[in-house]
C-alpha cells in the first residue's frame, strides 16, 4: 500500500481526489513522485486517472501507469489492447483493483472488463482465486456478478471448478448455494458434515476425470444452471486426454483408436457411459489388461463391462 492509498482510505475518495489535484497543480514534482510510488493500488490511481489523460501529465508517469492509462482509455472507447508488454499491468490492475471492488459501478464494470481481457488473452490461472473470491463477495452483497462470472469461466480450465469447490465448506449459506449452483450439484446439504462429504465426492470426481473435461460454453444467460464443463465420454473411453478449450485430443488419435471410436459412437448414451467408466477404471488397474480390453470387439467389451462392472 502506497502513501496515496493510505490518504484515500483516511479521507475518502472525493476528498482524496481534490487533495491530489491540489498537489498536482501546486507541486507537480511531489504529485508525480507520489503517484509513481511502488505499491500503489489500481483503485487509487483510477480515481485520479482522468488528469493523466492529458499528455503533459501522462508522460511523467512510470511505464506501468502509462500502460494502465492506455488500457483504460481503450476500454472506454470499446477497444481491446492486449500484448505481452501489457501483461504485468493487467495483472497489477486485477491483483490490487479488487481491494476496492464495490467502489462504484463504473469501477466494478472496468474490473470486469479487465478480467475478461486478461483471462482471454494471457492464459494465466494465477488470478482465478482473486476473481473467484470477488464473485463470492459480490454474491454475499447481492451485487452484480454476472459479467465477472462470465470472465472467470473464459479461462476454460478445470481450475475454475477447483477454486469454487472450496466454498462448499463455507459456513455461509449464500456461499455454498452459489458454489453448488456453479458446480452443478443439484442438492446441497445444509449440514456441515454432509457438505464436507459432498466436497470430498466432488473432489474425487474431478480427480478421476481430470484430462477428460471440456468447456461447454454454456453460461448464465443461456440457462438457469449451466454445466460449464462436461466429461467427454469418448476421451474417457480411450483414456486420451483432451483440451478443455475445444475437446480435441492433446495427441492425435491412432488408426486403431479412430476405429474403436467408430464402434463406440454407435452405442446408446447409457452404454457409452458404462463402457467409458469401466475402461478408465481398468486402465488404472492394469495397463496390460486394459490393452486387451480396448482391442477386443465392442460386443465383448460390453459383455466384459456388464460382467465385471461392480468388481473393478
Amino acid at each position: 500500500m502506497a502513501h496515496l492509498d493510505k490518504t484515500r482510505y483516511r479521507y475518502g475518495n472525493e476528498r482524496f481526489r481534490r487533495m491530489f489535484e491540489n498537489t498536482l497543480d501546486k507541486n507537480l514534482a511531489r504529485a508525480i513522485d507520489l503517484v509513481n510510488e511502488e505499491g500503489l493500488y489500481f483503485g487509487t490511481f483510477y480515481i485520479i486517472m482522468p488528469r493523466f489523460f492529458e499528455y503533459s501529465y501522462y508522460e511523467k508517469l512510470k511505464a506501468k501507469l502509462k500502460n494502465c492509462v492506455k488500457i483504460c482509455e481503450a476500454i472506454l472507447e470499446n477497444r481491446v489492447l492486449a500484448n505481452e508488454e501489457l501483461k504485468d499491468t493487467y495483472k497489477w490492475m486485477i491483483e490490487t483493483g479488487f481491494y476496492d471492488d464495490g467502489m462504484d459501478d463504473k469501477f466494478d464494470e472496468m474490473l470486469d472488463k479487465i478480467c475478461a481481457i486478461y483471462i482471454q488473452n494471457y492464459n494465466d490461472k494465477s488470478v482465478l482465486s482473486i476473481i473467484s473470491n470477488a464473485i463470492f463477495k459480490r454474491n454475499r452483497e447481492k451485487r452484480c456478478k454476472q459479467n465477472l462470472l462470465w470472465a472467470y469461466f473464459q479461462c476454460k480450465d478445470i481450475d475454475c471448478l477447483k477454486h469454487i469447490l472450496g466454498y462448499i465448506n463455507s459456513p455461509r449459506k449464500e456461499d455454498y448455494l452459489l458454489a453448488a449452483e456453479l458446480l452443478g450439484i443439484k442438492e446441497i446439504a445444509d449440514d456441515r458434515a454432509q457438505r464436507a462429504k459432498q466436497y470430498e465426492e466432488y473432489k474425487k470426481w474431478l480427480q478421476e476425470n481430470e484430462g477428460y473435461f471440456y468447456y461447454t460454453g454454456y453460461e448464465n444467460q443461456f440457462c438457469q444452471s449451466p454445466k460449464y464443463f462436461e466429461v467427454d465420454v469418448e476421451a474417457k473411453y480411450l483414456c486420451k486426454k483432451i483440451s478443455t478449450h475445444n475437446a480435441a485430443p492433446l495427441e492425435p488419435l491412432s488408426r486403431f483408436e479412430l476405429n474403436a471410436l467408430t464402434d463406440f459412437r454407435k452405442l446408446d448414451e447409457k452404454t457409452k457411459i458404462a463402457l467409458c467408466e469401466y475402461s478408465h477404471k481398468k486402465k488404472n488397474q492394469s495397463e496390460y489388461e486394459w490393452e486387451k480390453f480396448i482391442k477386443s470387439p465392442i460386443d465383448e467389451q460390453i459383455r466384459d463391462t456388464i460382467k465385471n462392472r461392480g468388481i473393478i
Binding site: R79, K145, Q146, N147, N220, Q221
Partner: protein, 252 residues
C-alpha cells in the same frame, strides 16, 4: 405425433377445432413432428397451443413496447411498480398487483431496460397473464423477481432449462450462441429468442427477424481474430405446459 389419454389422436378431427393462423400452425407441428406429444385430454392440448400462441403474441407486444436493452448494471424500472435490485433484476414491490406491474412493462416500455434473458422471462409472464386474467395471475404470482433465469417462480422454473427436443415448435425458447464474443460486450455472448414460426425469431433489441440476421449481428460483436461464427443451438426451453394448464383449469 399427438397422443390423447394414451391413444394416438385423430388429428384430422382435432385440427378442425383449432383456429386458423398461428394456433393451427402449432398444432400441425405437434401432429406431424417426430416427437411424441402426450396429453391427458384435449383441453390439455388446447392449453399448450394457446399458451404457445400467447408467447408469440407477447413477444410481438414486447417488440412494440419500447423496452430498452441494457446490461444488468444499467437496468431500469418504473419505480411505481418495481424495485431495481443491486444485481440488476426487477423486484415486484410489496402490495403491487403482479398483473398491473407486468402490464406496465409493456405500456411504459421506455421506462424499463434489461438484457435478453430477462426480457424473455417477461414474455412468459405476459403470455400467462393474457390467459389467466389478472385475478388468477395475482393469486399465482405473488412474488416476482425478474433476473435472467434466476429466481424463477416455481411454476415457471422449467423455462430456465435448455433441453434436446425432437422438434422445434413455434413458441419455443431458442438460443443463438456467440462463442467468440468480444470480451467488452459479454451481454452479446448469445441471444435468447422466441421461435415466432416461419424461420423468424424475436430477440430483445433485435426485434422479429431471421436467424441469418441475428447471426450477422452477433458476428459483428466478436473479438478480434475470431474464427467461430455465432450459431443457433439445437436446444429448446419450454415451460411446463401441463402444470400451468392445471392451474388454469382448477381455477376457472
Amino acid at each position: 405425433m399427438i397422443y390423447i389419454g394414451g391413444y394416438m389422436a385423430d388429428t384430422e378431427a382435432l385440427r378442425l377445432q383449432i383456429p386458423r393462423g398461428i394456433e393451427r400452425l402449432i398444432f400441425d407441428k405437434l401432429a406431424n413432428g417426430a416427437g411424441r406429444y402426450s396429453y391427458a385430454n384435449e383441453e390439455e392440448l388446447y392449453f399448450e397451443i394457446r399458451l404457445r400462441a400467447e408467447i408469440i403474441n407477447a413477444a410481438r407486444e414486447q417488440s412494440r413496447s419500447g423496452l430498452r436493452f441494457s446490461t444488468f448494471r444499467d437496468a431500469r424500472v418504473n419505480p411505481a411498480y418495481w424495485e431495481k435490485t443491486r444485481e440488476g433484476g426487477f423486484l415486484l414491490k410489496r402490495g403491487v398487483s403482479a398483473a398491473v406491474a407486468i402490464t406496465d412493462i409493456f405500456r411504459n416500455g421506455p421506462m424499463y431496460a434489461t438484457e435478453c434473458a430477462t426480457a424473455i422471462v417477461i414474455i412468459y409472464y405476459k403470455a400467462l397473464l393474457n390467459i389467466y386474467k389478472p385475478g388468477l395471475f395475482d393469486r399465482v404470482f405473488t412474488n416476482i423477481e425478474l433476473m435472467n433465469w434466476h429466481y424463477l417462480d416455481r411454476n415457471l422454473r422449467e423455462i430456465g432449462d435448455m433441453v434436446r427436443a425432437a422438434d422445434f415448435i413455434p413458441g419455443d425458447r431458442r438460443y443463438f450462441m456467440n462463442p467468440d464474443v468480444n470480451p467488452l460486450t459479454p451481454e452479446l455472448q448469445g441471444e435468447n429468442v422466441i421461435d415466432m414460426s416461419g424461420g423468424y425469431y424475436y430477440g430483445h433489441d433485435l426485434g422479429i427477424t431471421s436467424a441469418s440476421e441475428i447471426i450477422k449481428f452477433l458476428n459483428e460483436n466478436r473479438k478480434e481474430g475470431a474464427t467461430r461464427s455465432a450459431y443457433l443451438m439445437d436446444l429448446v426451453g419450454r415451460p411446463n405446459f401441463k402444470r400451468l394448464g392445471n392451474i388454469y383449469f382448477s381455477n376457472r
